[in-house]
């Protein structure tokens, strides 16, 4: 057997190649761990590595594969090379306004007309202009009371400051107070990237980017389609073009069908939406069982502070929420809003900043 440390660092490197965050500090932990165990036992080595190098349940299957490959004497398995196989749906293409695109001459009146128009009907240049304005949108948020206390004129007694002052003055001259500060309310946004939403998905994602940029700590975004994909981290890039490119790489199921019911169930199993405003952006063309969607929407509406559904078709005059998915979801929605034009997005943003549960 080769030098133990070299073997273990080699193993950690293999894991890194497979996409597990087995960094330097974790590798050092592994070396410390094996010192306490019996390295001649395969199981001991297995657990030492798993306990120190892994960080999420998603790491575990990769870990098992790498362990079998590395200690089984075969060649290390490589993780799937995502960047090479993913088609670039959004980034750098002709619709991207950040690079190389001829800017439209924006006059006040042309902007006003553009604000009202359906983004699906815009030319590439007009759409770039809308995206540029979305990037400037300050997507503010309703505030909620935080647990944190700050000095205030009324509220709870601030014991620390009162005592400090009493000490200085020799007597309790005045009671000091403190009160709760406010924090932005959390927003969880689901963006449908299935085929039927293709004309709107990019604009919706850019709106999500504006929200994530304005309130980075209080925004979580997922793409939905055939699977639920968290994309908040990808949207953190300041530059919308880069962020969208990252997002397009992260989403594996562009332009497929929609199984919103199952994905909502996964969302609710995996994260907490308590106290959050949940924004679902979808046309409700549900491929799965509408009954399941209805059930999950019911759970969602019981847990979330408020559920806003964004349906681009709502912007059309003769729109009726008739799709199976839409009908199943409708009873559990607090607000059904359009999401087809810049004006609609501004209105949505307005609602998020003054959201109150309707009586």
């Amino acid at each position: 057997m080769r030098d133990l440390a070299a073997t273990m660092t080699g193993f950690a490197r293999t894991l890194r190649a497979a996409g597990v965050a087995a960094d330097h500090e974790r590798t050092q932990n592994l070396l410390r761990a094996v010192a306490h165990l019996d390295v001649a036992r395969r199981d001991d080595v297995y657990w030492a590595g798993r306990l120190t190098l892994c960080a999420t349940p998603d790491d575990l299957p990769r870990y098992d594969r790498c362990f079998a490959a590395y200690f089984g004497g075969r060649r290390a398995v490589r993780g799937p090379d995502r960047t090479a196989t993913v088609t670039r749906h959004l980034a750098g293409g002709e619709g991207d306004g950040e690079r190389g695109q001829e800017p439209v001459l924006a006059t006040a009146s042309s902007i006003e007309v553009l604000r009202q128009r359906d983004v699906a009907a815009l030319s590439a240049a007009e759409r770039a202009e809308v995206h540029r304005m979305l990037a400037l949108l300050r997507a503010r948020r309703e505030r909620r009371l935080s647990r944190r206390l700050v000095p205030a004129h009324r509220g709870r007694l601030d014991q620390r400051r009162t005592i400090r002052e009493a000490l200085r003055k020799g007597e309790v001259a005045r009671l000091r107070h403190r009160d709760h500060t406010t924090r932005p309310r959390k927003v969880v946004m689901l963006v449908d990237v299935s085929g039927s939403m293709a004309p709107y998905a990019e604009t919706l994602l850019r709106f999500a980017h504006a929200m994530a940029r304005t309130e980075p700590r209080a925004t979580r975004v997922y793409s939905v389609g055939t699977r639920l994909t968290p994309i908040t981290a990808e949207l953190r890039h300041r530059d919308p073009g880069t962020a969208l490119a990252e997002v397009s790489r992260a989403i594996p199921d562009w332009s497929g069908g929609t199984r919103l019911g199952e994905e909502l169930r996964e969302l609710l199993a995996r994260t907490s939406v308590r106290g959050a405003i949940v924004v679902v952006a979808s046309d409700g063309w549900e491929r799965g069982d509408p009954a399941l969607l209805g059930e999950q929407m019911a759970r969602l509406s019981r847990q979330a502070r408020r559920v806003i559904w964004v349906n681009p078709h709502k912007g059309h005059e003769d729109y009726q929420p008739l799709t199976g998915g839409m009908r199943a979801a409708l009873p559990f929605i607090d607000d059904l809003v359009a999401g087809h034009s810049l004006a609609a997005f501004e209105e949505l943003s307005e609602r998020l900043s003054h959201a109150r549960r309707p009586a």
Partner: protein, 288 residues
Amino acid sequence: MDIESPAKLADLLDQHAYLADEGLATAAFLALRMGRPLFLEGEAGVGKTELAKTMALVLDAPLIRLQCYEGLDAAQALYDWDFARQLLHLKAAEAAGITDAGRLEGEIYDRRFLIARPLLRAIETDPAVLLVDEIDRADDEFEAFLLEVLSDFTISIPELGTISARTPPVVVVTSNRTREVHDALKRRCLYHWLEHPSFEREVAILLRRLPACTEALARQVARTAARLRDHGLVKPPGIAETLDWTEALLTLGARDLDPGLAAATLGAALKYREDVESVLGSGVLSRA
């Protein structure tokens, strides 16, 4: 206590009726040996909290529990000053005509006016098992703060100075994974993902914890519990629920899991009306 191997630790846990498999025993063993916090993640009811309690029994150390919730802050986790007693002391000093502010300050920021909250208590108690329960419920700001405390087991109090642990406590951090916990915190810890127990282990746990339970009943309950977990429920039953359920069945004098009794006691295993309805409507129970 000298615990020389994971197997030995598993034995000791077993003596307190906690059956740990090899992975969990190794995780707890390394946490002890390396002085690292153990980060236990997994669905509710797989026995995360229970491990911390049993570790406290094994080590004969007090269990100090910090239950996390949204808005938990340093004053509730670390320490606070006893304001009422401080004020009384000031009043008494005033009555006695003591006006020397420097002296008064020294007096009211004395250790005896300090209220130790769980983290400070864990650092001052030797030995101790510290359970930081459901870290995913606390705000993410709290993680950064916890990371600091867990890194050097030292708390500095501006008015009093620095308090360090003589022996760092054994720390168990649990998460139900309703939120992704920051990697910096996990990196300090040993990470273990806890699954529902295997069929054989669940049977063994039922028999170990409920001496009145027959092997036949334990096997039927464990088999049904496994099926319930595959049934797409809002809240699949954990080992705690299976134990409750078996106990309910035993209380009713059950020797077999007959469908009627199973249905009557289902509330011990399932905690959502939708789940109960879905199970009763499906015939899962009649195949016990």
